[in-house]
Symmetry: C2
Amino acid sequence: MPRTVRLAVIPGDGIGPEVVAEALKVLRAAVGDETRFEETHFSLGAGRFLETGDVLTDDDLAAVASHDAILLGAVGGVPGDPRLANANIERGLLLKLRFSLDHYVNLRPTVLHPGVESPLAAPGDVDFVVVREGTEGPYVGNGGAIRVGTPAEVANEVSVNTAFGVERVVRYAFAAASGRRKKLTLVHKTNVLVFAGGLWKRTVDAVAVEFPDVAVDYLHVDAATIFLVTDPARFDVIVTDNLFGDILTDLAGAISGGIGLAASGNINPDGRFPSMFEPVHGSAPDIAGKGIADPTAAILSVALLLDHLGLADDAERVRGAASDDIAGRDGSTRSTSEIGDAIAARLAP
Amino acid sequence: MPRTVRLAVIPGDGIGPEVVAEALKVLRAAVGDETRFEETHFSLGAGRFLETGDVLTDDDLAAVASHDAILLGAVGGVPGDPRLANANIERGLLLKLRFSLDHYVNLRPTVLHPGVESPLAAPGDVDFVVVREGTEGPYVGNGGAIRVGTPAEVANEVSVNTAFGVERVVRYAFAAASGRRKKLTLVHKTNVLVFAGGLWKRTVDAVAVEFPDVAVDYLHVDAATIFLVTDPARFDVIVTDNLFGDILTDLAGAISGGIGLAASGNINPDGRFPSMFEPVHGSAPDIAGKGIADPTAAILSVALLLDHLGLADDAERVRGAASDDIAGRDGSTRSTSEIGDAIAARLAP
Ligand SMILES: CC(C)[C@H](C(=O)O)[C@@H](O)C(=O)O
Ligand SMILES: CC(C)[C@H](C(=O)O)[C@@H](O)C(=O)O
């Protein structure tokens, strides 16, 4: 009997639905008969908010959470849309999902695919993974303000870091490094953020003992951005907090040919909650509906989904097909669905 | 009668004393007879800590503060030196000076000098200034931890932002943009750090009304790193918080040929406290004492010092001399003092 995977699909806004359609096409082409995907599509995002005033209700959350995995396109309306001024779709939807579903590993691989142009003159062999913590740090929403709008306003943001939260993501990162080139770089700002930084540093030092084959390195976040443009090939696995990971992965996407190619997984390694896979790019309302968005990042996110489901061979085939397609790109424009079709065709049995 | 400027000189550690010596050489060559620099040299940094156990005493601080301006080389010992394990020279010295002397503008110009190689394939015309807030944000040292070293540890860091602090630096940035290409980009992370981000955004919107000739733009910090490698020429003045400014200016240094060329000013525009000028680079203990450090960043910091003292012509001449020297560099190595001599010679009357 085939295994059934219940997949929650959140196409979202802007180019989200367009790239998700291609990702699903590739997903279906990739898996053999032993796996069947049962899709539930959820209408969530800025569009839904404008219709109903809801961002993510408790019922939505429970329904999404009852699935085995989640594929998300992109969410967010047109910047500056006055009707969205008081809706924070990012916090209310994307971050709410990540936090509620305990996605403590935000996995963001960076590969400079052959044939892709980097803005760097001599990028070298770029192939690393950022393991970004997903449920703590400055993202917890633990801020507040007093006397708002007056000259005496004070606005605070609290970064919360726990041994519980740091240790589990650090251990995941070490395991990832152990299965790769065995190098782990902690990125933080220990000389300024001494309390959070101290916890991260001590945790890495402690877990390192369990992984004697992994070489450990530390960089301040500012220095890490320098190396990402002068010597990105030095990195194998980077482990870092939620905010630093956000910054470093956009930069990593840029040096490897643009976030149009960058995939990500929001992973709950315990399996208590469904993990969520999404391209790093946003909803790009300016090019939405034109059929010109590049679906590659969404397709590479499907590969991460397959990895997560234990279908490593299928994941490798998707990555290979995408990589071959990328290598053959000659600058002529293909539509979103042409790219999806081409990659799916490479997976035909 | 010549004007006397009382200059506190903090050579610091590593290559600090070497580059400061050249910076002073250039300073002396640059100014005419109407200005006399009266130097007081302070022995502060990791070296001093190892000798006396003191980082910056109240007496040190008072003595430094009694000067008209400060020139700092670099502070910090050899990474991993066990004797420094419990001394945070950065917080205890550098940040203590910035906070005590109310250096609320951390000014960091980025110019890709003709002849300098960028790691970017097509950098374009890079010429922007980052106005980094210097006395608030996650740098305030308002953190703490409980149950340290146990599995139940919680470590927090608080970013403190005030209307008072944000408005003054935003106003400074607008004035700077007004005197340049009239474009200001606010960088923050308003979609996640909603309280701090809200304060920054509202403040920029409010001050913008006073500067109708300045075009205002907003970027999330993650997106800003992308543009810094794909289109750095788009920036004129960037205004941002302490931590984002730290990250963006190292990246900015990297794309413009390395932080070996990056100058900075820690400025108290009110003039209540002396402003402090320092290269962005660190003490680089690995190359210290060899006479091979590039003093250009320290020399360009002297130009910022001259600007601050109202000696704009002298500042321009220092920048011109440094720029000419840089343009003539052919990859052959010159010693630290040879570079200082060459730039000083260009300033000879
Ligand atoms: C949209 C935003 C909240 C999000 C983040 O900051 O995590 C995005 O930048 C990302 O990296 O997935
Ligand atoms: C040394 C460190 C505290 C400092 C900072 O983070 O501000 C440095 O990186 C800088 O940018 O001047």
